[in-house]
């Protein structure tokens, strides 16, 4: 109880001081942009971590859910003139529905195969968006009202972290982690694999949709290519960089990578080269991520083991 009060007070202080610094202009618009991006990236990373780090389902299509959220929000605010809070929640719900629809068939797959199927799904969403004139097609969606502010970013980031943390501490969350550890044993203990995988996928997609909404209503303008394969990779990298199966890791990872890319902006032509080298070095020397637990075999992440690639369900033929 005492711990909760401390958390609430420190969050309040963080929020108010952030608001103060923005109001007084000490945080200029450039810094503000980066802080907002960090918030959005935390939401994306934590939500993917639930799917990949905790439930062990390797997704390379998380940006697609962000995209669905972003376009939903853009349509609702720019075309229909609805209030932002409605658009924000609707974005999450539409993404979550997409998550369920995609999840039910694809989550039977495991490991690399699931990764590739989700990658394919992400590309399909992008290509459909590119060819839908109603939402601007390849030119992009313009004139989205800028509703996203510090309050929305702060509250949504905190809500994402708290909801996912709460979920993981419940017996439902424990069931998800058990699926990562050993699907067959989890099933023998009464865990409905499809239900929990799809559930985790839907929650993850919901928050990715929220992140998309915040993104769309901050930048006025979105285009399908902003949510392509590379964006999905970025989110996976954030999760792995911070530490699989660690919420704190995802937060730290999102902040660290944002700061790194901030520095790299000064050398645009070498930015991606250096980024790729950093990525490689982390994978070789610290595969458990910044906050991940160390493991004797160097395989902290047990969700994707060799056995998992015998991807056909164990059920009789």
């Amino acid at each position: 109880m005492k711990k909760n009060i401390i958390i609430i007070i420190s969050l309040l202080i963080a929020y108010l001081s952030g608001q103060y610094l923005i109001n007084t202009g000490i945080i200029d618009s450039y810094l503000q942009l980066n802080i907002f991006l960090i918030g959005i990236n935390i939401i994306l990373a934590v939500s993917l971590n639930l799917i990949t780090g905790f439930t062990g389902q390797f997704s390379l299509g998380h940006a697609a859910f962000m995209s669905i959220g972003a376009y939903t929000s853009a349509i609702l605010t720019a075309k229909m003139g609805l209030p932002f809070i409605v658009a924000l929640i609707a974005s999450g719900i539409v993404s979550a529905i997409a998550g369920v629809l995609i999840g039910i068939p694809t989550l039977r797959l495991k490991g690399d195969y699931l990764a590739i199927a989700t990658l394919g799904f992400g590309e399909i969403v992008r290509i459909l968006a590119l060819n839908t004139d109603y939402i601007g097609g390849a030119i992009g969606f313009n004139d989205i009202p800028q509703y996203t502010n510090w309050t929305y970013v702060f509250i949504m980031t905190v809500v994402t972290v708290l909801v996912i943390r709460y979920f993981l501490n419940s017996f439902h969350g424990r069931a998800c982690i058990a699926i990562r550890e050993d699907e067959i044993a989890a099933e023998a203990m009464g865990v409905n694999l499809t239900l929990y995988k799809v559930f985790a996928f839907a929650i993850g997609a919901f928050f990715a949709g929220i992140a998309g909404s915040l993104y769309a209503n901050y930048f006025y303008f979105i285009k399908p290519d902003s949510f392509g394969f590379m964006k999905s990779v970025d989110i996976v990298v954030t999760v792995v960089f911070g530490g699989m199966g660690s919420i704190l890791g995802s937060i730290v990872g999102a902040i660290a990578l944002s700061v790194i890319s901030l520095f790299l902006q000064n050398i645009p032509e070498l930015r991606m080269v250096i980024y790729s080298i950093i990525l490689f070095l982390v994978m070789v020397y610290r595969p458990t991520g910044l906050v991940g637990k160390k493991d004797k075999e160097g395989k902290y992440f047990k969700g994707l083991r060799k056995e998992d690639f015998q991807h056909v369900s164990a059920k009789g033929n």
Binding site: F171, E181, E187, A188, M189, G190, Y300, A314, G316
Partner: protein
Amino acid sequence: MSVLKVTNLTKNFGGIKAVTDVNLNIEMGEIIGLIGPNGAGKTTLFNLLTGIYVPTSGQIEYNLNTKVKTKDLKPHKMVHYGVSRTFQNIRLFKDMSVLDNVLLGFHSLLFKRSISRKDSFDEAYELLKKFNLLNKKDELAKNLPYGDQRRLEIARALASKPMILLLDEPAAGMNPKETKELKDLIFWIRNEYHLTIILIEHDMSLVMNICERIFVFDYGNLVASGTPKEIQNNKRVITAYLGEEAV
């Protein structure tokens, strides 16, 4: 009263007959042993009994709180029906704590809301205490010694409050002292929880000591059944184990 009735059960994998025309009838409260050489179809039978495999033909019928038919068998529903199991190659949740492993055993009860979150913790502590694992509750399952891992898996299976407990080679890899302790533990479990226990085991001293009835498998066929004494003197069993020349 019969709790499990298996009729003409057959399972083929492609051309291989893993289980052929097996008939069993198991009474409430019995301790049953399944023995036979490796590849005789014992684990396949367990997998059929727990819905992991679908039978090629034949019937499986449980008579527990409700009647459960072959078509109702689904892996994730077995604990809900009252059938819980352990695995030959221990399947713990390795990167979860000992306590979390046992807590997961309560999943089905929590899901049905037939136990509160607080009670599940209390009962998990209780179980760990009985299995001498309470002082290790916060360790990761993978860091436990082998014997502890076997016992933790049984504790996890018991958490779901089964009426039938299936143990797949519980003594595998244990030393004689641990095996003896396991024997006492199994007796104790049966008496404490009024369970029907079916176990697959290669350790003959254990099987002969604790099982009331034994079923012998060879090449997917049920070749003999009876009390330990009857089995020890059965010609076909000796053939299955030692080959023709020994007879």
